[in-house]
Amino acid sequence: MLMRVRTVARNLCGLLYLICRHPSALIGLVILVAYVVMALFAPVLAPYPPNTGSVRQSFLPPAWQEGGSPAHLLGTDHVGRDILSRIIYGARVSLWVGVLSVAISMVVGLVLGAISGYYRGIIDDVLSRFAELLMAFPFLLFAIGVMAILGPGFFNLIAALTFKSWVEFFRLVRGETISEKTKEYVEAARAQGQSNFRIVTGEILPNIIHSVVVLATLRVGYMIITEASLSFLGIGVQPGVPAWGSMVDDGRDYVRTAWWVSTMPGLALLLLVLAINLFGEGLRDILDPRLKVD
């Protein structure tokens, strides 16, 4: 067990070293870490609470614009809330939703995909058909539909996003398991009399986990965009919770007079997704040179 931990630790150190030598992956990682810090320490970092403001203070432009004040660096919105503070708090929703929904999808897809690919037969038929059916729904459309029924809310959001996105992992893991299963090392393990469970978790999984990690990283950005899109449509998190998508929506009616209300949170979103994708594609170069994840 201790040896296991040591190997993993050594691998992670090696990976970190490779990332540091990959400039775009490193940039992505640094920005990503900055966002995580921002989300974790939001109450300390944000100059104001996210939901207080007075109408007298509404529509203050960013500090560098005429009429802006250093007290509100990125300006204020239609009810006088500080946009910077709301962006900092908004990172929490985006990151949580992104990470949680991908993690759940990954676990579900991994388990079902491994079972399906290893045992084939009727389980595989049923799961594959079901996956195919879900693929017939465009992702955002499906999420919108589910949210429309469940209503806004953090956990509903996670449910709506995971409901379909496990299929991506399922397909990857299933395909990889099927192709790994025929290789000599699996035959050798079977010849040694290892149990099926040991073969899947101990032999096959370590060989496909790289691709899964890469896919997961790249999916996080997509989930965050989808969450923001739902919040933008008003069917994301509960009203009042600061989320970038709903902030962009708040500013929509005022684009003629107060462009910053919509622009700033969108920029924060764009930068985060850029960072995740930079990191994810760097990771793909490093871990998945055969390019199984597209």
């Binding site: 058909r129 465009p138 992702f139 955002l140 429309a148 998508g245 684009v255 622009t263 969108g266 994708n277």
Partner: protein, 336 residues
Amino acid sequence: MRGLRVLERILSTIPIVFGVAVIVFCVMRFTPGDPIDVMMGREGHVSQEQIDALRREFGLDKPIHVQLYMFLSRAVRGDLGNSLTKHRPVSALIRERLPATVELALGALVFSLVLAIPIGVISAVRQYSFVDRASMAAAFFGISMPAFWLGIISIIVFSVRLGILPSYGRLPYGLEPARVTGLYVLDSVLTGNVSSLVAALRHLLLPSVTLGAPMAAIVARVMRSSMLEVLRQDYVMLARAKGLTEWAVITRHALVNALIPTVTVVGVQTGVLLGGNMIVETIFSWPGIGRLAVDAIFNRDYPLVQGVVMVYALTFVLANLAVDILYTYINPKINL
């Protein structure tokens, strides 16, 4: 031989369409709060008899499998029920709005393919050149860009700041061309109406670009990488050894092969286009089925939501069917 395979592929969509309908039906039926409550909430005080009458009218008093059967048999005949809020048949509402959505989707598709395919090819042929680096950087932004924000930024820049493009609707009031297909651009061309053609194109521009941008970004990237792959192949060398010009080598021998993976990606991306469609229609007040759906969701107009979701899913299935069939024609090796 090929005809048979195509037919087989067409038939294989039937169970999928059926499954889609079942899923839509189940999701709608197994949710808390049935449609009658929603209607009652709107109509104020009503008696129990009225409720029962309505339940009978909608068939909600029957067992669930009977309801499913009724839903399916009606759907096959194009009857998707009545909208709860607009008091009109769902199918009529969809038919009315569909041309706007089709026009927008085609606009986005044309924009993204016309932009992305040449960019992908040039980037591959001139790998690591300035053009390559710049367009790949732009494409990377494109895949990370939330469509709704891109739409709002383009409104701020092109409508508010520069004031050169309209930001909402399909046409100014009164400029509609005589209806032939319902696609304003096409109708304007068919009826020779220049002023409405110009206006329709100007209105179409920002929404199409917003909707097509993510697809353009992905297609450009895929096109570039598959082109790079193809340019390394021996048959490209043979084409050169035959004495063909570099232009002919690229456009005839390399392009067709490089398009094969691109076609698949376009099929998958149709889904993104359809999902983004709701958002783009909302931002640009585009009177298509996307806005219809968003409104229906907010009004809890279940039959309408159900109908629109069916149409979307069906479109996606058909788009992928079209892509697969196209695929058999450009890739002789494929067996569906």
